[in-house]
Symmetry: C2
Subunit: 451 residues, 2 copies
């Protein structure tokens, strides 16, 4: 009660703090060096009494590493977050500028607020409230806040190899973010898909030519289109030779659990203004596909002239950005090799395949102590049963930080289904935000107690 009182008394100040953090345009994927956001995080955690270090690798955005709470606590919690955010384009679809946070209709709009700056700040504010009310934390916390998550965390494996002994003793890990579903239930998850982000590049003539040469000169854009069309069929079957052979069939018991999970397919279709899901799946089948199927997604196509009006040009270069979401036992390197071999066999040796970055898929049990503590906290604060997913469709470096050290993980956070993660008008609802502070405090208590 005292803690809830503290949070209530600090609402304005807490919101101002979140807004200040969201003002930092930490788009490290587009060249921001990350230091402004990293320093902000470091100062925020130092204010809680944390020992903070910056782990830097070759000029990459630094990893903020913080330890706080009693060194002799019986339990240690690892927390993973990231201070970088997605690029903000297309800018013209934002109702207010992405890095000028704006409150309207009970929502806070800003790039990165849901993914995952609000979670960082809410967690820190929960610890502040705990310390103010209780004087001391009930567990040891080891907190990793990296700056390249939206770039598929290219340095996390190296950081884990170099500094892993600092946090390998953690009893569980709280992952970066999460959300409530459309019925208002907290959604927890214990695994993530991996990702292989590829660039496919084709080259034609020495330079762009007048398009009348289309009779005789190879066109990089056509080569790329034909190559792409061999990777996935119109019915959404991934046709990269051999790829599906590496997909481990889901455990039947887990599958049963998943098929019983609430899943409002119609609400999802309505939100995205689509008439049906790809391949015509629906209901529990759609959820199973969402959690267990690998994907092959064109994230970007770029070739020739894209401006207004017309330009009659035969493009010399064409690039596709393609991400594969991975399930066990696919790995980024395996996917790169399979795509490369596939294209070579199909006569597209001229299309270069670059693995820009990738992370492996991760899984941990739904009945781990850390997952059960999160479920109990959701019941404590939300007053209802949460939904526990064994696996999420999104990705993150959970394998390198958790699976590799045998640390079970769980994720929850302050998002909602309309948070527009990775899209214009990203937002969180303020009510969710302040409830999230209380849920973090309840989770800390539950996990420290071992219940």
């Amino acid at each position: 009660m005292a803690l809830a009182e503290y949070v209530r008394a600090h609402r304005e100040q807490f919101l101002e703090e979140l807004i200040a953090f969201c003002r930092i345009p930490s788009v490290t994927a587009e060249g921001d060096d990350g230091w402004e956001a990293a320093r902000w995080v470091a100062r925020r955690l130092e204010a809680l009494g944390a020992d903070v270090a910056f782990w830097g690798i070759n000029g990459a955005p630094p990893v903020v590493y913080a330890e706080l709470g009693p060194a002799n606590a019986s339990r240690t919690l690892l927390i993973y977050n990231h201070y970088d955010v997605q690029p903000a384009d297309p800018l013209d679809l934002w109702e207010t500028p992405p890095f000028e946070p704006h409150v309207r209709g009970g929502h806070l709009y800003a790039r990165g607020v849901a993914d995952n700056k609000a979670n960082i700040v809410a967690r820190a504010q929960a610890l502040e409230a705990w310390l103010a009310v209780q004087g001391e934390l009930p567990l040891r916390i080891k907190w990793i806040v990296e700056g390249e998550e939206e770039n598929s965390s290219p340095h996390v494996a190296q950081v884990a190899a170099q500094h892993g002994e600092r946090f390998a003793d953690a009893d569980g890990c709280l992952w970066e973010s999460g959300y409530k579903d459309s019925a208002g239930r907290h959604v927890l998850y214990c695994g993530l898909k991996g990702i292989a982000y590829l660039e496919l590049c084709s080259r034609g003539a020495a330079q762009d030519l007048h398009s009348s040469w289309g009779t005789l000169v190879p066109n990089a854009a056509w080569r790329l289109v034909w190559a792409l069309a061999t990777l996935k069929a119109e019915d959404e079957t991934i046709t990269v030779e051999g790829l599906m052979d590496h997909v481990r069939p889901p455990d039947p018991a887990e599958l049963e659990h998943v098929r019983r999970l609430p899943f409002d397919a119609a609400a999802i279709r309505e939100r995205h203004a689509i008439s049906e899901f790809v391949g015509g799946v629906d209901g529990p089948d759609a959820l199973v596909r969402h959690l267990y199927a690998p994907t092959c997604t064109i994230c970007g196509l770029c070739s020739g002239y894209g401006g207004p009006g017309t330009k009659t040009v035969l493009p010399a270069h064409a690039v596709a950005k393609v991400d594969f979401r991975l399930v066990p036992d696919l790995t980024p390197e395996l996917v790169r090799d399979l795509v490369e071999a596939h294209l070579r066999r199909r006569g597209f040796a001229d299309v270069e395949v670059i693995l820009v970055d990738g992370v492996r898929p991760a899984r941990s049990p739904v009945d781990s102590a850390v997952a059960q503590a999160a479920a109990a906290a959701a019941r404590d604060v939300g007053g209802h049963e949460p939904v526990i997913y064994p696996n999420m469709a999104a990705s993150g470096p959970m394998y390198d930080l958790c699976d590799a050290f045998g640390i079970p993980a769980v994720g929850f956070g302050v998002g909602w289904p309309g948070s527009n993660v990775h899209a214009p008008n990203e937002n969180v609802r303020l009510d969710d935000y302040f409830e999230g502070i209380l849920m973090m405090a309840a989770f800390v208590e539950r996990f420290a107690q071992g219940t």
Copy 2:
């Protein structure tokens, strides 16, 4: 001789004049209103004593129309040029800025110099020299200089319908530009391909989404790739249903003429740094394909994220710019209708087909008086036999201005095979430029004489 003397004495001044014209960034396809270049042309022709009018249509870049020479001359020559130029991107591949003309190694580099500003200026300077030396032109000239050629001349048909009686009496037409081949022979041509410039647009969800939704939500980029792949096969066969049925087989005699034309396939491949032509054609077969085959060329692909690094986005929109070069009896509207019907039949009714603009193919006889006058002028000035093409691979509004009024046409100009038309570092050779002034004067004399 006196005329050549005049040109020699005015070399520097003539070059300065050309440079001044090339400084005008008349990229009307990207929003320039065309007036700066149009006024420049009008002033230049008024200085020759021409009566000049601006034909404007709904705020489009104006058409400059000039008449000069004795009203009672026995022959009338129509000239067609355009003052607009291609967009200059990719800017980083230009050695000097596209609108800061630069002379080096005997070449003048500037966007639009070869296509076709140097021809406009050389033709005007030839008439200036003629008038200075002879006092009066030997024929009547009617000169159309439009400003939307690089945009497929969307208003020329309307202009021709409205003002056609002003120039319908012309005995022949000199087309905008031309070039010498790699052996230094003047290349003449009496026909052009048409063009249908389409935009294919696909739409998926209401907005861009996090790419983890690739499991369930339709991806506009994939839809577009699959749709495009049905339009042309990897062997470069156009597979739009019914399209090839409308291609009129070439006249056997004309085909024989074409197969005897010089064509240095190896030089073309070397210039464009390609190892072979599409479909493996070579020699005379390649030339026949170049002149008589319709094309289907992706000029631009644009969807999702195209910036540096990675963005894991599921694109809601995707656009392809596709141009079809047309031969008789294809028309822009027919191609649009065929593509639309084809996509609908193949299950791509969600892909919108927009005819952005188009022009019909044009043909006139290689033995017309105007073509023969051009051939004689090439012999007079170059001292060798020119190469006469019945048809060129490029496009322009020749049908609307010539074929529709029964006016035979011929094209020649000051380009060379390395002019980089529609590409970075566009240029003309200064020697070709000054020879082009003399050739225009010789052509005027020959055509006036009827030889």
